[in-house]
Every structure is written in C-alpha cells, then in structure tokens.
Amino acid sequence: MFETFAALAQGMATSFKHLFMKPVTIQYPEEKRQVHERFKGRHVLNRYDNGLEKCIGCALCAAACPADAIFVEAAENSDDERYSPGERFASTYEINLLRCIFCGYCEDACPTEAITLEHNYELSFYDREGAIYTKDMLIVDVPVNGRSTPQPVEPGAFNRAIPEMEDPK
C-alpha cells in the first residue's frame, strides 16, 4: 500500500519537475533547428566563382547512388555557349528525393565537388513528381561577379573538365 503510494509520488514528481524545464520542442516552422556542420540534407549543384557550373555531366554520382535516385544526361559545351569547364556538361540533372537515402555517396564520387549535401531538410511534396528535383532547382545562385550559364567565353580558356590536381609530394 505504502509502496504503491511512493511509486506514484515519484512519478508525479518527475512530471512536476518537467513542468519547469526548458521544452525540447520548437515552434517549427517559425523557429528552425540548427543542424550540425556535416548534416546531410538536400543536394545542391555548385558553381565556380565565375558562374560556370562545376558539374560536368559525368554521371558518376548516378553510378555511385545505391538507390538509383540520380539521373544525368550530358551534352557538349562550346566556347560560345559554355555551361561548365571542359567538353561535357549536364543537360539534364534530376534527383528523386523519394528514393534518396542521403548516404552522400554521390558527393564522394563527384570528381569536381559539384554535388554536395547541404543543410536543407525541408523536403515534403504533394505528389511523387514533386519529389523529382531538376537541375534548375538544385543549382545554386550565380555568385556575385559571376555570370549565368550558358556564357560565352574566350576560346580555349576552359578546356579542362577536371580541376588541376596536386602533384605527388
């Protein structure tokens, strides 16, 4: 009898204590939670400072993806209409975020660090098609002082697809 009462009081005390503690819930969406630096959220496609796209359409991200979420189609650059350095650029780039498991393998596979998983976790869709993010939705804004793509460039200035490597030490 006494034991029952003690247990009850103990439970009540815990509840009572929590009444005065700082709540863990936040007022989403007015308030947003800070994520860790290495959090893996939605992908973005990056640009160089001059505005050229880093993605060269090699589809290695798509090959690495264990969920088959990425679809890339490539086309050829020209100096009059340049999207990315080198000969090849992604004319279509789609990620199906319903399939994506946010493993980050695409990031690892990318030879130009064009695709990175950033901090956006607000992924909700009204239909399946809405879950397919196209290149326009994924690519970052043109940096200040950069130009949008396609851009006309000086002939021969950007004929390497892969940035220069470091030499052996």
């Binding site: 060269i56 359409g57 090699c58 789609e94 030499d167």
Partner: protein
C-alpha cells in the same frame, strides 16, 4: 609435319596451328595477356610492349642437335635475356611461356605508368570510360601511383573533327595505330596517318572530305582508349547505363549482326531511345565490323514524322481512327473490290511476308503479289545452287576463287566487299566482270570489263570456255581456267546495268559454271561453294522464300495461277483494271513507278512514314520499325537471323505481321496470330527450307574465334560478344541431291541505240530511312551522270543535265571521264531504277 605446334603457357599444355602468335594462343586457353596495339584481325606491330612475357625455347646440343635435358629428364629451356612481345612472337614446338612472373608483372606496371605520362585525366567525361582497355589494364596491372608531374603532361587538341562522323581527342591517343592499321589492312581506305614523331605523334586524316571511308565507325570500336568517338554517340551516355539488344542490320543483304544500345532519356519524355549501334560478333557474317550506313542509319526510328495512328480518308481528309475501324474498313473494302493486289517492300521480316501471302492467297484468294523495285531475279536458282550452309568467306584463300559479276560490292554490300577483298589478299583468285571498274577491280586477278549490254554474253562465253580444254591464252580463257580449277568457288551476281530478265539468265549461266564437273566435284553443294545474289535490300531473300512472287508459293512451289506482277499492278492502277492495291513498306509513287494512284478504287498503305504513296491512300496502318519488334531476316547467304526489340513502339503502331494477320482474320484467313515466334513456327511448316528452325535454335551461339567481350575487352574494342544467336543457313537443293545444268534461253540483249544507262549503286543514296540520319546527311551521294569524253561532245564537267528514260526523269551533274565505256552513261545517287534503259540527255541552261 603436322600443322599443330605444342607449347606450354603457365603450365597449361596446348596445341595451336603453326604461325599463331603467343598472345592469341594464350587467349585461346583463357590466359589473358594484356595488349594495346595487338588486334587479332590486324597484323601485329609490337608497338606498345604491353604484352611482354617470358618466352623460352628448348635448348639443343649444338653438336648433335639433340634436345638437352635437365637432370630430372625434363628438357632444358633457354629463356634468353629479356622479355618478348607475345603479340609478335610466333609459337614454336616445345616453347614455354610464363605470363605471371615477377619480371612480367613489374614491366606491366612500368609500361602502364609510361602510357599514362601524357594521358589526360579525362575518364569521368570520356565516352570510353567504363569500357576502356586502358582503364581496365591500369586497374588490373597498374602501379596506382605516378611519379609524373601533372603540369608536365603534353597538351593537345581535344576536339579534332576527322570528317563529319568521327572526332579525335589527340591527348587521349596512345599511338597504338590500330585505327591506321584497320584503315590500311582491313578497309583499304588509307585515309589516316601518323604525323610527326615521338611525343608529338598525332593522327591526321589525309582525305577530303576528312576520314572518307565507309568503315570509319569501326575505328572507334577498336581504339583502346577514348581518342576516337562517333558524332552520334559523343557524350550520349555512359556505357554502363545502356541496355544492349541484339539486332540485325536492315540496310543490305549481308545481314550484319549488331547490338543496339538504348537508354531511357528525359529529353525524349522518359522513353528508351537508341544511343548507338555496335557490331555483334558473327564470324561467318560480319566478323567484328559494321559499315557506317548500318551503324548510323537509325535516326529514322525516333523521327517525329513517324506514323503513330491508323488513318482513314473521310471527306477527302486523312483522319486518325481506331485500329478496329481501320481494320474493318480495310477488310470490307478488300472483300468488296473486284480485284486486289499486294505490293511489298524488301525490308520486311519473314514473318511479315508470310502473313502477307497468307492474307492474299488464303484470305482474299488472290495471287497478285509482288515486291516493289524487283531489280534482280534468280531466287529460284539460288535455292538450288546457293552457297552451301556452313560456308564462311573467311575460309577462302589460296587455291580458291571468287567471281563477282555486275555488282559494285563496295557500294551495295560493304561487308561482302571487305570479305571478298580479304580473301583476295589471302591469295584467292578474284575474277570481276562488270561494265565499269569498281573498287574491287584493283584487287582482281582477272578484271574483265565487259560492255554492259554484253555482261551476260561474256559470262556465257566464260561458261562455254570453262567446259572445254582451251589453249588458255585469252583473258577470258585464263579466267575460265582459274575459276574451274579452283578448290572452292563462290560466285556473286548483281544487277548493275542489267534488266530483270538478264539477271535471270545471268544467275542460270553462273549456276551452270558452278555445276561444271571437271576433274573434281562441282562447285555446289559443299561448304564454301555456290552462288550468292547481291540482293538490293535486307530481306529480298525472305520475300523469295515466303512466296512474295506472282508465280511462286512459299518454298518455291509453283503457283497454280500466275498473278499480277508489280508492273502489271502499276499498269492496272493506271487503266482501272486493278481495283484495290495493298502496299506494305514500299513507296511506288515516291520511287517513280506510279505517277499517282490512278484509277484505284482502294489504296491501303502500311508504313512507317507519310510517303508519297501514303498521302494518296484511303487507309493507312502505322507499322513498327525493326528496332521496336522482333522478327527474322534471311540474308543473301540464306542465313536466317533473328533480331530482338530494342525500344518501345512509336505511338499506336503495330508490327507488320500483326496488322496483316488481324486483317486476315477478318477476311477468313484464319485466327489472328499473337506472338512472333508462333508465326515463325507456322512459317516453317509452309516453307520447307526452314524446317527444323525455331526461335530458340536461331538464338543459339557457339564459341567463336577471336574471343571478344570478356572482362578484359582488349580485342574488338567494345564490340559485344554474341550471346543472342548466330542464325542458321538453310540448305540449298544441291546439298542433298544432284542438280542438273540449267536450260538457257536464247541470248537476250537489251541493247538499243543511244547511251546505255547504268544505275550504279551508292551506299548513301537518298531514301526514306537514310534521309533522317543527321550524321550521314553531309555524305549523301550527289546525283551525277558519268559519260565518256567520246559521247560527251556537247557537254562538259559540271553541266546540269536532264536525264530521261522511259520511266524516270532526273537532274544530274555531268562528269566526263573515261572510267566509263563509250556508249554507256553511269548514273549515281538514284535508287529505284531497274533494268537497262536508254538515256536521253539535255542540258539545262544556267
């Protein structure tokens, strides 16, 4: 002495034919020696050193010549001081080869490091990445660490267009010369060459237009790196993303085996599309090659101009209707017509032909069946003495002979040209009889240029000379002697400059030549002997076999009543004696056979495109292209080959056989068929030659040499191994019983006064399908008329001429040259024109 040599490679003892290279011998027992420059279809050069191995020979006592033995009794082996290139080293008796010693492994790593000194780090964007021998070898044998400074790499042009079809990346080239050697040795188009030396060595093209060859696509297959890429596939997809489907080329009578690579594409609305076409190994047909026409003429399949829905004429307009409505209307119309006739193109599958003849003969009780553009006869002769089953032109060589009459193989059937030329290079005697000189003439041992009107007469003379002992002095005599004494004899015949009747006599004359029995056996009924017709289309043979002929039923049985042939149909349409015409895969109005639909009461067209004939039709059925369905083609060597669907059908189109059988069901020709393989099964019952074949046996493969497409992919570039069937040749009559000499009619000569017009084939001649190929467009043959200076008094080079024959009128640019004989004019770049015609010329004033 035996022709086999026994050696030991890595402890495996094997016997291979004398003269085999060590690298090939190893490959034959599954030991992969890595190679770059070596290719089993090319002469070895030993340029890259990738194939270095340890090779030892048994030592012999100098005094006695006896083999020296170790203490344990085993032969003493001398490995010499260094490693040897196994691609050039020829096997020797008792040879011992080590491919996995430390020295070999070490040198492989070093050599790969060396190859990569100047090779760019392009793999992510390189079209070869994923199926690249260099990539594969580095993964297998590379050192994975480089001592080379990145900025010291040689920089060079990355976008060099070698003509319109092929692009070169000079940085990627590893200077193996496979492309140059292919062009020189195999294709005999010496248009590529090395320029400069050492590190500056680069590939250049020396022709105008650049890389002027019908074989250019093959160099991209055998290039062991991504230096050579094709215009149509460049950056199209990564190799691992594509789905391969086995197919057969539908562009000529050779029937090359190919692989169609497809991929779903966002820009095509998520549908699978054809990305590229690669050769599929079939050593008896196309080995590892494809001509550029076969490789690049696929654009039409995805053309937005394709017909996608059945159509009917209502109030004068063609409007889309449902299949049922169109089929019912067609069935009613055909049954109500006072007379019906069926006209078919020559690219349909055997299944289509079979259902077409069933619809007409069984359903509509009519024998009015023919093919459009009937240019060459003799199918019945071929059925008797055609090249024997199991033959392979690759086996012809010294002591054998090949006769080519009235055909320009290079333009009409490129792969046969290649194989005939190579047989001649191996020592086979080549006799060419034609009205003008062709690409083959320079390889001929006997080149007999006959006046075109006299080709048949010349061949008949040849045959009579072959029958008797002659003094063998004249050119014809000598040729006859060569042919008749050959161990094996294959005769090709075409229709250049000949009328249909003349081709029929030509076929018989050649059959008689093959049937002559001198000392040995006749040249029929045994392997590598017999007649090959150079049919103008991919499945002309199938049309013969399935009885698309006014007088022949399937399997060459004579029909009780001869029906109308194409010429009678055209005349009947014009004068109103023919009421209804059913056209399948042909365009008689566009080809100039018919001026318009004439007085036809009903015109039904089954097509891929809105052709000139279709525009005037009452009912149109959209058909599926060859890539969208399965079926079988029978090539000129009577090899029945199966192709598989690669992509989804355009719109609401249906396969030809299905349309025909659904129509047949409505007119009482039996229940509609539902599956292609079952149509084939019923076809084998009617066409006795096809007995015993079915889709399964046509899909069977055997091991072939050279071995390609393994994990290594050194040989054959990325050509795919054949896993989907080698096809089956049906046996000609002569293989099971004796065939008598053919009765010859009196000599027919169509010679008339005036310039005799020879329509010379060009591979890239404008037509419904090839016109849609973007990459081939710039290479399309121009319409020209070549005349001898003697006849060209009134005209000069470059004049625009109006050429009129009794059937067609075309505008052509004049070329004056003594390549053609006096009295003849050679017309190029025009497809449908049969027989001999007399040209009337007039100059068009500028």
């Amino acid at each position: 002495m035996s022709d086999l040599v026994t050696l030991t490679i890595d402890g495996t003892e094997l016997s291979v034919p004398k003269g085999t290279r060590v690298a090939d011998a190893a490959k034959s027992v599954g030991i992969d020696i890595p190679v770059f420059c070596h290719h089993p279809k090319l002469e070895p050069v030993g340029a890259c050193r990738m194939c270095l191995v340890e090779i030892g020979m048994p030592m012999r006592d100098r005094a006695t010549g006896e083999p020296m033995l170790n203490e344990d009794g085993s032969p003493k082996i001398n490995f010499g001081r260094g490693l040897q290139t196994s691609c050039t080293a020829v096997v020797g008796e008792g040879m011992v080869v080590h491919t996995d010693t430390e020295a070999v492994t070490d040198v492989r790593g070093t050599l790969l490091e060396f190859q990569l000194v100047n090779h760019p780090l392009d793999c992510p964007i390189c079209d070869k990445g994923g199926e690249c021998p260099l990539q594969n070898l580095v993964m297998d044998h590379g050192k994975m660490e480089s001592r080379v400074y990145f900025e010291d790499k040689r920089r060079s042009d990355k976008h060099v267009s070698l003509g319109d079809l092929i692009f070169l990346d000079r940085e990627r080239c590893i200077q193996c010369a496979r492309c140059i050697r292919f062009q020189d040795e195999v294709a005999d188009d010496r248009v590529l060459q090395f320029h400069n030396r050492g590190v500056n060595l680069e590939i250049v093209t020396m022709s105008d237009p650049g890389f002027d060859s019908y074989w250019s696509g093959n160099t991209t297959d055998i290039c062991p790196v991504g230096a050579l890429t094709t215009a149509d596939f460049r950056f199209g997809a990564r190799p691992w993303e594509m789905t391969p489907s086995a197919s057969i080329c539908s562009q000529c009578a050779v029937g090359c085996n190919m692989t169609v690579n497809t991929r779903r594409e966002a820009r095509s609305g998520g549908k699978p599309v054809i990305k590229r076409i690669l050769p599929r190994q079939n050593e008896a047909v196309n080995e590892l090659w494809l001509c550029d026409k076969g490789r690049f003429t696929h654009d039409y399949v995805a053309s937005p101009e394709r017909l996608t829905s059945p159509m009917m004429r209502k109030d004068g307009e063609l409007v889309a209707v449902s299949w049922d409505e169109a089929l019912n209307a067609a069935a009613e119309g055909l049954q109500a017509a006072s007379s019906v006739a069926g006209l078919a193109g020559q690219r349909l599958s055997n299944e289509d032909y079979f259902m077409l003849q069933k619809l007409f003969r069984k359903g509509l009780k009519s024998g009015n069946l023919d093919v459009n553009n009937r240019q060459i006869g003799g199918g019945d002769v071929v059925a008797q003495v055609g090249i024997a089953a199991g033959s392979d032109l690759q086996q012809l060589g010294k002591g054998d002979a090949i006769l080519v009459v009235a055909s320009d193989l290079h333009e009409e059937a490129p792969l046969w040209w290649l194989r005939v030329k190579q047989a001649a290079d191996r020592g086979a005697a080549l006799v060419v009889i034609n009205g003008r000189s062709t690409r083959l003439s320079s390889h001929a041992t006997h080149n007999l240029q006959a006046d075109s009107g006299d080709i048949v007469a010349t061949v008949r003379q040849l045959v009579s000379m072959a029958k008797v002992e002659t003094d063998g002095t004249g050119a014809l005599d000598a040729a006859a002697e060569t042919l008749i004494t050959a161990n094996n004899l294959v005769a090709f015949y075409g229709y250049e400059g000949l009328s249909y009747e003349e081709t029929e006599s030509l076929a018989k004359a050649l059959a008689n030549l093959l049937l002559i029995q001198m000392d040995g056996e006749p040249h029929v009924g045994r392997m590598n002997n017999g007649l090959i017709p150079v049919w103008p289309y991919a499945n002309t043979q199938g049309a013969w076999d399935m009885g698309i002929h006014p007088a022949l039923l399937p399997s060459y049985k004579a029909a009780k009543m001869t029906g109308m042939d194409a010429v009678a149909m055209f005349a009947g349409a014009a004068d109103g004696s023919l009421d209804a015409l059913y056209v399948v895969g042909a365009d008689p109005i566009g080809d100039g056979w018919m001026a318009d639909r004439g007085k036809l009461g009903l015109l039904i067209v089954q097509e891929l495109f809105m052709t000139k004939t279709a525009v005037t039709a009452d009912i149109i059925f959209p058909a599926q292209s060859w890539a969208e369905r399965d079926g079988t083609f029978t090539n000129g060597e009577r090899r029945v080959q199966r192709y598989y669907p690669a992509i989804r059908p355009a719109g609401d189109s249906r396969p030809d056989w299905q349309i025909l059988s659904q129509l047949g069901e409505r007119v009482g020709a039996g229940k509609a068929e539902t599956v292609t393989s079952l149509v084939f099964r019923s076809l084998t019952k009617a066409a006795r030659q096809y007995k015993g074949m079915d889709y399964r046996s046509l899909g069977q493969v055997e091991a072939q040499w050279p071995v390609v497409g393994g994990d290594d992919r050194y040989y054959g570039g990325n050509a795919f191994a054949n896993t989907a069937g080698l096809g089956k040749q049906w046996a000609a009559v002569a293989e099971s019983k004796a065939v008598k000499q053919f009765e010859m009619d009196d000599a027919v000569s169509s010679r008339e006064d005036g310039l005799l017009l020879i329509n010379a084939a060009s591979l890239y001649t404008a037509g419904t399908l090839i016109d849609k190929s973007a990459v081939l467009a710039p290479r399309m043959a121009k319409i020209t008329l070549t005349i001898n200076p003697v006849d060209a008094t009134a005209y000069e080079d470059g004049d625009t001429l109006m050429v009129r024959t009794d059937r067609v009128t075309v505008q052509a640019t004049a070329v004056v040259s003594d390549d053609v004989m006096v009295g003849t004019a050679v017309l190029r770049g025009v497809k449908a024109m049969n027989g001999t015609a007399v040209a009337r010329l007039s100059k068009i004033k500028e």
